[in-house]
């Protein structure tokens, strides 16, 4: 097993005819993901290397049975595309686009959660990879193989770095999930921890956070209460200069100043080991699971 994407994924890419959209969709298909459609308004009837292009997401669902959408349209149109996917009945929406206005994100998230039909991953995320099964997004899949470590991360490139350190120690992954670093992530650490906890293939969870916000602190509480599998964490930004704090509201809400040290302390207080470098994360994983068989 794995979470979120696998052999049953039937992908439609919105913004498929853009250069990034084309490049990464074809890479996903080369990896083995079932890419069934693309959408670019006005380009219906064309195809991208054999992938049929439609004018609307609803058509891609009707004609091709798409169940997962990858959003690759420019930021100012991205929320619209996310909502179009939701209304078309897509179950999993993975939004790669970076730079979506925060209030657009907020509105899209609220509508999705109110309707309760779809899950949104991202925006501003690298996507989801279930090695050996499917890759939806921009994660360079060649570095990862199938295995028992689930990875969830706020930062794209950091995900690859940590995943790669694990791979060098011989670990494979059940799934790698980039949740993105935006103010309103569609899916957060707690959601993904819940999925990994329920996934029989996942035996260890690696969680990569970074400075800012209080998602790591909330995850720490959740892990203590609901996660039985071992969790190893990494927080980037220990040496980052203290950001200037504008108002007081942020600190009042989170009761934390979002520093790496505060996050690591919150996690360690709940019994989660925190690696100080990506390499140390892999070593901690080894101490929890033993050296991988191969």
């Amino acid at each position: 097993m794995s979470i979120l994407v696998d052999q049953s994924t039937r992908l439609v890419t919105t913004g498929i005819t853009g250069s990034e959209g084309t490049f990464h969709t074809l890479r996903n298909r080369d990896y083995g993901t079932q890419v069934v459609a693309g959408v670019t308004p006005g380009k219906g009837g064309q195809n991208v290397d054999g992938i049929p292009v439609f004018n609307t997401i609803a058509e891609a669902v009707d004609k091709q049975g798409a169940n997962t959408a990858m959003i690759f349209v420019p930021p100012r149109f991205a929320a619209d595309s996310i909502l179009e996917a939701e209304e078309a009945g897509i179950e999993l929406i993975i939004a790669i686009t970076e730079g979506i206005p925060a209030h657009d994100e907020l509105r899209a998230f609220q509508i999705i959660s109110k309707n309760g039909r779809a899950r949104l991953i991202g925006p501003n995320c690298p996507g989801v990879l279930s090695p050996g099964k499917a890759n939806v997004g921009i994660i360079p899949a060649a570095f990862f193989k199938q295995g028992n470590v689930g990875v969830v991360s706020r930062s794209g490139t950091l995900t690859y770095q940590v995943g790669n350190e694990l791979a060098q120690q011989g670990f494979g992954n059940s799934s790698i999930v980039g949740i993105g670093g935006d103010p309103v992530p569609g899916t957060d650490f707690i959601d993904v921890l819940t999925l990994f906890e329920a996934d029989p293939e996942t035996e260890l969870i690696v969680m990569c956070g970074e400075i800012g916000g209080d998602a790591e602190e909330r995850a720490a509480d959740f892990i203590a209460a609901h996660v039985t599998k071992p969790v190893v964490a990494y927080i980037a930004g220990f040496t980052a200069p203290p950001g200037k704090q504008m108002g007081h509201a942020g600190a009042i809400v989170s009761g934390s100043h979002g520093t790496a040290a505060a996050k690591a302390a919150a996690l360690e207080a709940k019994g989660v080991d925190v690696g100080r470098t990506p390499t140390e994360v892999a070593q901690l994983a080894m101490s929890k699971l033993g050296t991988p068989a191969n």
Binding site: H24, P75, E98, P101, A102, H103, L106, R107, F109, Q110, I111, S113, K114, P126, I138, I139, P140, F143, S153, R154, S155, G156, T157, L158, T159, Y160, Q161, N164, G181, P183, V184, C208, E210, I211, G213, D214, A215, R218, Y234, A236, G237, F238, T239, A240, P241, K244, Q245, M246, G247, H248, A249, G250, A251, I252, V253, S254, R276, T277, P278, T279
Partner: protein, 379 residues
């Protein structure tokens, strides 16, 4: 984008939030002229993008022209938590019966706007939050429903505001929410929100953060930059679409993705080095972005060695390699570079670099090895 107090107050005025009238000033003479126009007593306020100015002497009340001159002279050029004061805001002094606190903020945890109100505003609100969190009334707003009049009343009652101002305080909160939504802010904070002896409600301070990603819809706000607060190198980077933060060390750092760059700083520091900067070339860094990045990094004369740490997802390593070659042709760096390329098209990227055989460029396979090498080279 963080606004200065007076820029925030100008947004407030646009949405009918009552604020004292005032004038900005960049010199002592301008400040005195502004004070003469406004009348006395007036407040002379340092304009820097940071809180706690009052406690640090950045806000003074002037009773006459001579005091206005003295205060302006003392505050201009002052250092407030690392920021130099280049600009003042002179506004009519208000008489204060009560100081409240009000804000609207993006609550990432709840994924909804959060409106807060407290009767214990003023300069110690953080202490109140810590010691007596119940003294701050909070309400999450469903953005699809919006902030209704009853929400304002509920918060005002819960916070325990004086009975005679429940309605106007509630209305004030509705206006602040309106600023938050229509200007696409991520923070709107008023501390203090005052009640005057005449029982008028007024915003005496304004801290507003706007969402950079929505500035294309607000061209007039996009102009509101505080150029004086920006480091010249940071401005150069900003103009070229790069995220750059200057630090104190001698090792230039470039990476793709904020998380990886932060992690790189941690690892370089762990290896005994001192990073000179944070530079995120962003997702999908194209060759010209790399050229700009090299120019920005090398414009800091303290840099003695540079580390490129790239793990390509949307970024293609061959593009990065081409950009580096171009940058070497244009900039002719005099310091060594350590380059680590992994991820999308990494083999092509490394092959391109090997073929170019650039002077003083070392390639490393891992982040730890690359950090160790650059620390050794920087000496």
């Amino acid at each position: 984008m963080d606004l200065l107090e007076y820029q925030g107050k100008m947004l407030f005025a646009r949405h009918g939030v009552p604020v004292p009238s005032g004038r900005p000033a960049r010199s002592v003479d301008e400040a005195v002229a502004a004070a003469e126009e406004i009348g006395y007593p007036c407040a002379v306020k340092a304009q820097v993008q940071i809180g706690g100015r009052g406690k640090l002497g950045g806000i003074k009340i002037a009773a006459d022209a001579q005091q206005a001159r003295e205060h302006a002279g003392a505050i201009l050029g002052m250092d407030i938590r690392g920021l130099t004061v280049y600009e003042l805001w002179i506004e009519g002094a208000s008489q204060i019966a009560s100081e409240y606190y009000a804000s609207v903020v993006f609550d990432r945890g709840a994924k909804a706007p959060l409106v807060m109100l407290s009767t214990r505003g003023g300069m110690d609100i953080e202490a109140v939050a810590e010691e007596d969190p119940d003294a701050i009334a909070m309400l999450h707003v469903d953005p699809l429903l919006g902030f209704q009049a009853f929400h304002g009343r509920r918060l005002a009652f819960e916070a325990g505001v004086d009975a005679d101002v429940v309605r106007p305080v509630g209305e004030m909160l509705a206006k602040l929410y309106e600023v938050f939504i229509s200007e696409e802010a991520t923070l709107v904070e008023v501390n203090p929100l005052i009640i005057t002896p005449e029982r008028e409600v007024r915003a005496l301070d304004a801290k507003v953060t706007l969402d950079n990603n929505s500035l294309f819809r607000h061209p007039e706000n996009a102009e509101l930059r505080d150029l004086s607060a920006e480091d010249p190198q940071e401005r150069m980077a900003h103009d070229r679409g790069l995220t750059y933060v200057k630090l104190d060390g001698n090792i230039g750092i470039l990476g793709n993705g904020a998380g990886l760059v932060m992690s790189t700083l941690d690892v370089v520091k762990g290896a005994g080095g001192e990073p000179a900067n944070f530079l995120d070339a962003g997702g999908g860094s194209k060759a010209d972005a790399i050229v700009s990045a090299v120019e920005v990094i090398l414009s800091d004369p303290k840099v003695e060695a540079v580390l490129f740490n790239i793990f390509g997802g949307i970024t293609r390593c061959d593009e990065v390699a081409r950009g580096l070659i171009e940058a070497f042709e244009l900039v002719k760096p005099q310091v060594p570079f350590v380059v680590r390329l992994d991820g999308t098209n990494d083999k092509q990227g490394r092959a391109i670099l090997a073929q170019a055989n650039l002077p003083g460029v070392y390639t490393e396979a891992t982040m730890d090895a690359a950090a160790a090498k650059v620390v050794e080279l920087a000496g």
